[in-house]
């Protein structure tokens, strides 16, 4: 597997605070990589740097061999909030990224409908965001990020605002969408279970300044189900990630 995204010795300071300290890791092509770490360790900042929205203070980021120096067009983004435009229908919200890219929305309508079906949103094409539940809105946001098959999808705690039950279902919905598209995904979460369940690789960060404490390869077979959650290997991986977070918290 070749690396799609390479983060090398990346540091970021805001004024006098060091938010990220010398982070290095890579995201292989077509893999699902999670970043877990406590609040404030620089996960969102890292994603924004990877997208080219924020400049790093030092270090480098490469996407498919190209150094990232400004906003990259070939990236899909999912935020903690769905960020849907209230005046657009759900279908038109998903097609929004095509329109912004100067593409003909009509050419992507078929794919948008397919993604909606995979995400369990069939029948809601013409609904406005306020007619959808929070979980449905977030699924629409994921469909939108996948529409143009970008070389990288960045997700910043996309399920953070959802309740535990919905959250678990959303995890499996995301797995279904991802297995269809096999986009390269960099996924930020607070949830250890979510990270281990969805990922090929889990990057564990420690807080203040954000450092990479551990990188765990999760070689559990796919597709993963609720049964996976009881697999002793799953439990062992989750324990290792938790140890990493806890060790990171006391280390400094």
């Amino acid at each position: 597997m070749s690396a799609s995204l390479i983060v090398e010795n990346l540091s970021k300071t805001f004024g006098s605070t060091l938010a990220i300290d010398q982070a290095s890791f890579s995201v292989p092509e077509n893999s699902f990589v999670s970043i877990v770490g406590p609040s404030g360790c620089g996960k969102s900042t890292l994603l924004r740097i990877a997208a080219g929205l924020v400049r790093a203070s030092s270090g480098r980021i490469n996407l498919r061999g190209q150094e990232v120096t400004g906003p990259i067009r070939d990236v899909g983004m999912v935020f903690q909030a769905p960020v849907l435009l209230p005046w657009r229908t759900t279908l038109d919200n998903i097609l929004f990224v095509a329109e912004m890219g100067g593409l003909r929305a009509a050419d992507y309508e078929g794919r948008a409908r397919e993604l909606m079906a995979l995400a369990g949103l069939s029948g809601f094409e013409e609904s406005r965001p306020f007619e959808l539940s929070g979980g449905m809105q977030q699924r629409a946001a994921i469909c939108r990020a996948m529409l143009l098959k970008p070389s990288l999808i960045l997700m910043d705690e996309p399920f953070g605002a959802l309740d535990v039950i919905t959250r678990e279902r959303m995890g499996f919905a995301l797995q279904t969408l991802w297995e269809e598209s096999r986009n390269t995904v960099l996924f930020v979460t607070h949830s250890i279970t979510e990270a281990v369940l969805l990922s090929d690789i889990v990057v564990v960060m420690s807080p203040r300044p954000g450092r990479i404490h551990d990188i765990v390869e999760i070689d559990l077979p796919r597709s993963r189900t609720t049964a996976t959650l009881r697999d002793p290997r799953f439990v062992a991986f989750a324990a290792r990630v938790r140890e990493g977070i806890e060790a990171g918290e006391t280390e400094y």
Partner: protein, 256 residues
């Protein structure tokens, strides 16, 4: 049953108005108030019918200056807001100036506009424009400017140019703010037109009111007020209708 009660609810304001007029018609003579002070609704209605064509002519003039002033306020209010949003330097230059300008009572300087622009429609249009400008500008600034940072990031990452972000995000976001502003700006523009007519000129509803006052024709003054009220109600009604048809996604317009 539900039907009759909802029908009743719909006509309740009209029924209330009718009751008020009836009370006025019967009560005022009992109190001994003379007709030149407070004319009876029936007298106002008669005078309104008698002067219908003059009323219409007056409304045509006042309506024209009001709507032209409002249209100019709409164009320049939006353009000014855009300039302030896209050229940050302008914000520090324009905002204090505009705030200072808005604190001048424009009615008080209206005579100046008559000196500068004459007794014709120009001075009325400019007054209407100036009174309507501020609400349009302020609301446009909010509607065009206050876009969630995440929406801008999302658009940028999808390759959105400034122009596309402007037409597909900022402008769409601003529409309800601007329609709200229009509902405030419309009566203000009307005030501008009528004050302009009070100060100078020989046409329009404002002139008709002055004419009625000059001749102690109180029913005519009231009839002119009725004309203005109908005009304002129709104007604001048109904006509300647009909102109900086009802005169904707004929380206030959602049908649950």
């Amino acid at each position: 049953m539900a039907d009759t009660s909802s029908l009743l609810a719909r006509f309740r304001p009209l029924l209330f108005l009718a009751a008020l007029l009836l009370f006025w018609e019967i009560g005022v003579p009992l109190l001994g108030i003379p007709g030149y002070v407070l004319p009876l609704p029936s007298a106002i209605a008669t005078r309104f019918m008698e002067t219908a064509s003059i009323q219409l002519q007056g409304l045509a003039v006042t309506g024209m200056t009001t709507l032209v002033g409002l249209a100019l306020a709409l164009v320049f209010g939006v353009l000014l807001a855009l300039a302030v949003i896209y050229v940050p330097v302008l914000r520090s230059l324009v905002m204090p100036l505009l705030a200072a300008f808005n604190s001048i009572p424009k009615i008080a300087v209206a005579p100046l506009f008559v000196i500068w622009f004459g007794l014709g429609v120009e001075s009325k249009i400019i007054l209407a424009f100036l009174l309507a400008l501020f609400p349009v500008f302020v609301n446009s600034l909010t509607g065009l400017g206050e876009i969630e940072a995440d929406v801008i990031d999302l658009s940028t990452l999808a390759g959105g140019s400034r122009w596309r972000i402007f037409t597909k995000v900022r402008l769409m976001n601003a529409v309800p703010y601007i329609t709200d502003a229009l509902k405030v700006a419309f009566p203000l523009a009307l005030v501008g037109s009528i004050v302009g007519e009070f100060i100078g000129g020989n046409s329009g509803i404002g002139h008709l009111i002055l004419f009625g006052q000059f001749n102690m024709d109180t029913p005519l003054v009231f009839a002119a007020l009725v004309s203005i009220t109908v005009f304002t109600t129709l104007g604001i009604g048109a904006v509300s209708l647009f909102e109900r048809m086009a802005l169904t996604w707004r929380p206030s317009q959602r049908r649950r």
